[in-house]
Structures are given as C-alpha cells and as structure tokens.
C-alpha cells in the first residue's frame, strides 16, 4: 500500500505548488502558447506584418518531401544516440562496480566528458575526423579506408551520433553505477551459491532490478537526442550532406534563424512538442508496465 500524506484545507497546498506552477507558466506554458499562436501566421522577420494562414504552415511543411524525410533521420538518430549512450554506459558501470581498488579514480575519469559542452565536443570530434587534417581519418586512410563525412551521409550520421553519445555516456554511467550499488548483495550471493555465473546473474537478476533506472534514462536520453544535440550537429555537419543529419530540431533553427521564416519555424516547434509528448506518453504506457520498482 502506498502511504499518502495529505494537507488539510486548500490554501496551503496551493501556496506550496505556486512556485512550480509560476515557473512552468512563465518558462513553459507561455512560450509554448506563443509558438502555437505564431504557427498560424506568416509574419515578416521584422514583425511589421502578420498574415493569418490557419493551417497553411503545416500544409506547407507536410507537402515538403525533405521535411518528411527529416522525421526518418530524427528517428534513426535518436534510436542510435540512445543505444550508443546507454549500452556502453551500462557496460562500464558493471565493470566499475566489480572493481575493488581504484574504482573512485575510474569513476571520476569517466565523468569528465559530461563536463564538455556539446558545441565544444562537436568541434573536438570534427577536428579528429576532419577529412584532410584529422588524426582519426589519417589513421583510417593508412588502413585503406577513405573517410569523408562531408560527402557520405552514413559516415556523417555515424559521426554526429558518436559525438552526441560520447558526453552522454558519462551521465548514464553515473545513474547505472548508483543503481548497481543499490542491488542487494544477498540476492546475488544466493544466485552465486545456486551456481549462476556472472553474466547469467547479470541478465536474470541485476538487469531487472535496474529497470527503473533504465526506464528513466531511456526517457531522458530520447528527449536529449531530440533537443540538446543541436550544438553537435551545428558544429560538425550543419545538417549535411544532403540533409542526412538534419534532424527536426535543427530544421527549426535553420528555418527560423537562417531563413527568418518564423511561421514555419513555429509550426515545426509545435509538431516537435507533440511528438515528444506522444513519445513520453507511449513510453510510460507500454514500457513502464515492464518496470519493477
């Protein structure tokens, strides 16, 4: 049974949630409302005129083949980023958890990449893979592989996924590591006495016990890959080649701030808002059922 603490009266609870409601209203509801309102208009950049077009902006977007294909690249991108940032993080956390000596130093070192800002991480990766002066592309060249993410869409996608996932591994590592420490030793020892080997124990006992953390990270990482990877993409590929790495949020920027088409940009933000909302609802509805708290 859940235990609930209740307050008497109405004023005190209202007062207590007021700051949160206020912050949400100012920083979330008001801008979101503005975006929805603006998505119905085609304004000129300077705000001198505003034409009501109803759903015109949405019709324009969905009539654009490249906008539709940007959904596809966004899906690929976020699935890859989520996997590439969670699986290595879990692996490293399991290894760190087994260490008896030196786990502190190991842990600290693994957290460092998280401190690197996305744009800086982007520049770092861009230089390593620069087609003519990059260290990694030079070694690949020695191995006979001609790396050119400037023209090759799959290589470009691989590079932005790696750069986006890299810093994120640290963040996921921290959560997995903490969760692993919370797994009761007695359960694992009992399994060990029953003769279960390490990986068997991991898949049948540890992983299910980690599911709340895994679920939380899944939601957070999907949201991250949708919104916060802008800096990496902007510095490495600027959405190219041939829109291979133009994910939805990058197109919002490009149309709004490069093209100064604020109507289309607002309509795209609304669509993005709906997608992420829908995804989160779906995740809670279907995946959370399989989570054991």
């Amino acid at each position: 049974m859940e235990k609930r603490v209740t307050f008497r009266g109405v004023m005190l609870p209202l007062l207590l949630i007021a700051p949160q409601v206020f912050i949400s209203a100012v920083f979330f509801f008001y801008p979101a409302g503005q975006a929805i309102w603006q998505s119905l208009f085609i304004p000129d950049p300077f705000g001198l005129s505003n034409q009501f077009v109803g759903t015109g902006n949405f019709e324009f977007l969905f009539g654009d083949r490249h906008y539709r294909s940007s959904f596809y690249s966004t899906a690929i991108f976020s699935i890859l980023v989520t996997l590439a940032s969670m699986i290595p993080a879990l692996f490293l956390a399991v290894l760190a958890d087994r260490l008896i000596k030196g786990s502190g130093a190991y842990r600290t070192l693994l957290i460092w990449p998280y401190a690197v800002a996305p744009a800086v991480a982007g520049v770092l990766w861009m230089f390593m893979f620069n087609t003519r002066v990059g260290v990694v592309s030079w070694y690949l060249g020695q191995l006979g592989y001609d790396w050119n993410h400037v023209l090759n869409g799959s290589e470009a996608m691989g590079l932005v996924v790696a750069a986006s996932a890299w810093g994120r591994i640290s963040y996921n590592f921290l959560f997995f590591f903490a969760a692993l420490q919370a797994v009761p030793r007695s359960v694992i020892e009992a399994a060990a006495i029953d003769g279960a080997r390490f990986w068997r124990r991991f898949f049948t006992i540890v992983l299910p016990l980690l599911s709340p953390t895994t679920f939380f990270l899944l939601v957070v990482n999907v949201v991250y890959s949708f919104f916060e990877t802008f800096g990496v993409i902007h510095t490495i590929t600027a959405g190219g080649p041939q829109q291979a790495t133009t994910i939805l949020v990058y197109k919002v920027y490009a149309d709004g701030f490069v093209g100064q088409d604020l109507g289309s940009s607002a309509a795209q933000s609304v669509i993005l808002l709906l997608i992420v909302g829908l995804l989160t609802v779906l995740q809670f509805k279907f995946i959370e059922k399989r989570v054991h708290y």
């Binding site: 085609i42 304004p43 000129d44 950049p45 300077f46 705000g47 001198l48 005129s49 034409q51 324009f60 654009d64 490249h66 087609t131 003519r132 002066v133 400037v150 023209l151 090759n152 600027a238 959405g239 190219g240 080649p241 041939q242 829109q243 490009a254 149309d255 701030f257 490069v258 093209g259 100064q260 088409d261 109507g263 289309s264």
Partner: protein, 437 residues
C-alpha cells in the same frame, strides 16, 4: 575574485561615463567583425569621433553575419534598434522587404546634407545595393569577389610552367590533367561553392541566375540556374571530383587551410583571402582572375561581390540621422577607403579610392591585389551581372550546397541536382513573397 569583479564593474562604468556625460549625439553601429578587421573598424570609428565634436559613433560587435542580422531584427522588434546595422549581401532582400524598418541611404544622405555623389561609387559594387531606379539603399562597406589563387611551387613540381595561362576553364582543365598525371593529390579546391561556381559563374558568363533581373525587379522571381551553361560547368566539376582533380572540403572556406598549407595547387576563393594566404603560405603564390569557359555566354562579363553593406534603421531622430550621414560620408572618403582597401584586401567602394591606391604604388608593390578590381570593373554590369537579390537567400544557398554535394559524391547528375535545387529554392521564394506582400 570579488575584487576582480568589482574592478571590472568599476572599469566598465568609467568607460561608459564620458558617453553619458557628453552632449554629443550618439550613433549606434552594429557590425560583425572580430580580430584584425574588428580593430580596423574600431580605428575608423575612433578617427571619425576625433575628427568632429557633434557626433559620437559607438560600434559594437554582434557576432557573425547571421547573428548580427538576427540581433538587428530582434532589436527592431523590441524598439532598441541601432542606427546603422551591417548586413551581409545575402540578407539584402530581407532588408529591402522590410520597408518600415530601414531608411534608405539615399534618403539619409539627402536629409543630412552630407557630401554624397552616387556616381562616385564603383558600379558593380553599389549595383548590388541599388534599386532598378538607381536609388542607393545601403552603403557598400566590405566587398570582395572570387579570384583564382595559384600555388606556383605545386605547378613547377608537376613540371608545369607556373606562368601558364589560366584565364579559361579549358586551360585549367589541361593543367588539372597534368597535375593529376604527376600524382598531385589536390589539384583544385574551392571555398563558398554556391557563391563562386553558380552565382558568380552566372554573372561572369552573363546568364541569368534567376528571373526578373536576378530578383532586382520584383519578388515574383524564379530561379533559373539550372540553365545549360551552369549545368555544363557543374557537370564538369562533378567529373573532376570523381577523378580526384577537384577536392571538396566543405561548404564554407574549409579549403583555405588546405591551400595555405600547400596541399592544393589551385584554389577559387574570395579576393579577401589575401591577408591570410600572404601571412601563412610558405610557397610562391599568384592571384589570377577567375577562369571562364571560353565561348560560353558573354564571358568574361564581370563578377559580382560578396561581403556586407551598412543599413540605416528607421525610428530615430532627424539629428541622429545627420550623424549617420556624416559617418557614412566619412567612410566613403578617399583616404579612408584607400586605406581600408589596402589593409584588408576588400574592394575599394569608390573609383577615387582605387585610383589613389594605384597612384601610391600599392599595386606595384603587391602584385595581384588589383586583379579583383579589374575583374569587377572590366565591363558595365548587365541585368545578369549586377548582383542577386533573393529572399531567404541564405537558406537557398544551403539547398544549393546540399545538391552540389550530391553531384560531388556522384549520387546525382548535375542536371538532376540543379533542377531539384531550383524547385526547392522556388518554394522558399514563394514563402518569402507571401511574407512580404
């Protein structure tokens, strides 16, 4: 730490005090220059402020070209706009469309009574910012044009006479073949592919880039760079890319590093690349006019500019516009322009500044620095070569970049790619037309 912050605040306030205390009219000027160019702009402003007592120009850096334009737009919406805003050439149509937001330069000059003779400016430079009726809307500030940079040592290394004629693409093709045969890994590289190989290519061969005089005559313009001449050139470049004779490095000026490092033999880039190449190149280099296809269109017509111009914004006092007029007149004066041209490699905006530079012997001491000027002014600009004025042009360039990449990688033929770029670009033009009706 705390003391340091207090110190910084104190220093900041002291620096501001004279502005607040003086009775001078303040003129705000937002620009996009950093580094050496930023210093040169600051020096110009300082000289202007020292030359008279009535006005004080306050220059602020607002980020790169796109950021400066966005800062100006945001400031206008908040009624905090500067008097003078620097806008890059692709933003020209956006500014022109904003009739209530900008005050045309010819109007500012007429009202302020400052010295202003539109005929003193070089036609090909001012044409980009002038209406079809001949009214100058913004003052050209920094303009450059694409030229061909040659690594003489690389040619010699491949057994080619470094003085060989590279004025036509036919000749360049022969040299690329020889370089390739000699095992050179990077015969040709380029910067700003759309600007050089489509926009300037069209002007130089006197073929239209878009209908309605490249957009000068109206917003109902449509792209036409999928014409025969352009497609043939892009197809050739694509062929060179497949053969390893043309190396693609990126959408901006990434290729500059390869050329300056000595990796590449030929490089099509802005004439303003001069300062960087001169300081870094450890090889003998040459500046040559941009090549043209002999027998195609009316080549060589004239090339067009890239760079930025200064726009006066609406919503200020008449007295302040007088200051704007005085400052713009000061910037156009011969000594200031000649100095700017020689320091930066940008084109002079007036004929007089070019003449003064020649008379001072600058071109003789720095051979090649006048190639850009000659190439721009060789012929009277035609409807196809005075410039390009398209809405959402920054984004259209992005589309062109994507489609060109498809050609370089061999995914699309030149015709397919240009047709697709035209179709996608036209959609944006229609959106722009609708927003600026």
């Amino acid at each position: 730490m705390r003391q340091l912050i207090l110190g910084a605040v104190a220093a900041g306030t002291t620096a501001l005090t004279p502005i607040l205390a003086s009775a001078q009219t303040e003129v705000k000027f937002w620009h996009a220059f950093t580094g050496r160019l930023g210093e040169l702009v600051a020096a110009q402003v300082e000289e202007f402020n020292a030359s008279q007592d009535d006005y004080k120009v306050v220059a602020s850096h607002k980020g790169n070209y796109s950021e400066t334009l966005n800062a100006g737009i945001a400031a206008f919406r908040a009624d905090e706009q500067p008097h003078i805003l620097m806008v890059f050439e692709v933003g020209t149509a956006t500014m022109m469309g904003a009739k209530g937001a900008v005050k045309p330069v010819y109007e500012v000059m007429a009202e302020s009574g400052a010295e202003f003779d539109p005929d003193a400016y070089i036609g090909a430079v001012k044409g980009y910012f002038t209406t079809t009726e001949g009214e100058m809307l913004s003052l050209p500030f920094n303009s450059s044009t694409p030229v061909l940079w040659v690594n003489r040592d690389a040619l010699e290394g491949a057994g080619i006479d470094p003085d060989t004629d590279l004025s036509t693409w036919q000749n360049v093709e022969g040299v690329l073949d020889e370089l390739k045969a000699a095992g050179h890994s990077c015969p040709l590289v380029t910067a700003w592919q759309s600007w050089i190989h489509l926009e300037n290519f069209s002007a130089y061969h006197d073929v239209p880039f878009a209908t309605r005089e490249n957009g000068f005559a109206g917003l109902d313009t449509e792209l036409t760079f999928n014409g025969e001449a352009q497609v043939a050139h892009i197809a050739k470049m694509g062929e060179w890319a497949q053969d390893g004779k043309f190396v693609y490095t990126g959408r901006r000026n990434e290729g500059g590093a390869n050329f300056r490092g000595g990796d590449c033999a030929l490089f099509t880039e802005s004439s303003a690349g001069y300062a960087g190449i001169k300081s870094e190149a450890e090889f003998d280099f040459d500046v040559r006019p941009l090549p043209y296809w002999d027998g195609v269109g009316n080549a060589p017509q004239n090339t067009i500019i890239g760079g930025a111009s200064l726009w006066a914004m609406q919503g200020h006092e008449a007295e302040e516009y007088k200051g704007v007029g005085e400052f713009l007149a000061f910037l156009s004066s011969t000594p200031i322009q000649a100095q700017w041209h020689q320091d930066t490699g940008y084109l002079p905006i007036t004929e007089a500044a070019g003449d003064a530079t020649r008379e001072a012997g600058f071109y003789d001491e720095n051979p090649g620095t006048d190639v850009a000027v000659k190439q721009m002014t060789a012929n009277e600009p035609t409807a196809n070569s005075k410039g390009i004025r398209l809405g959402s042009f920054d984004q259209i360039r992005g589309i062109i970049d994507e489609e060109l990449e498809a050609v370089w990688s061999g995914d699309k033929s030149a015709q397919e790619a240009m047709d697709s770029a035209v179709e996608r670009g036209n959609q944006l033009l229609r959106r722009f037309e609708q927003a600026n009706r």
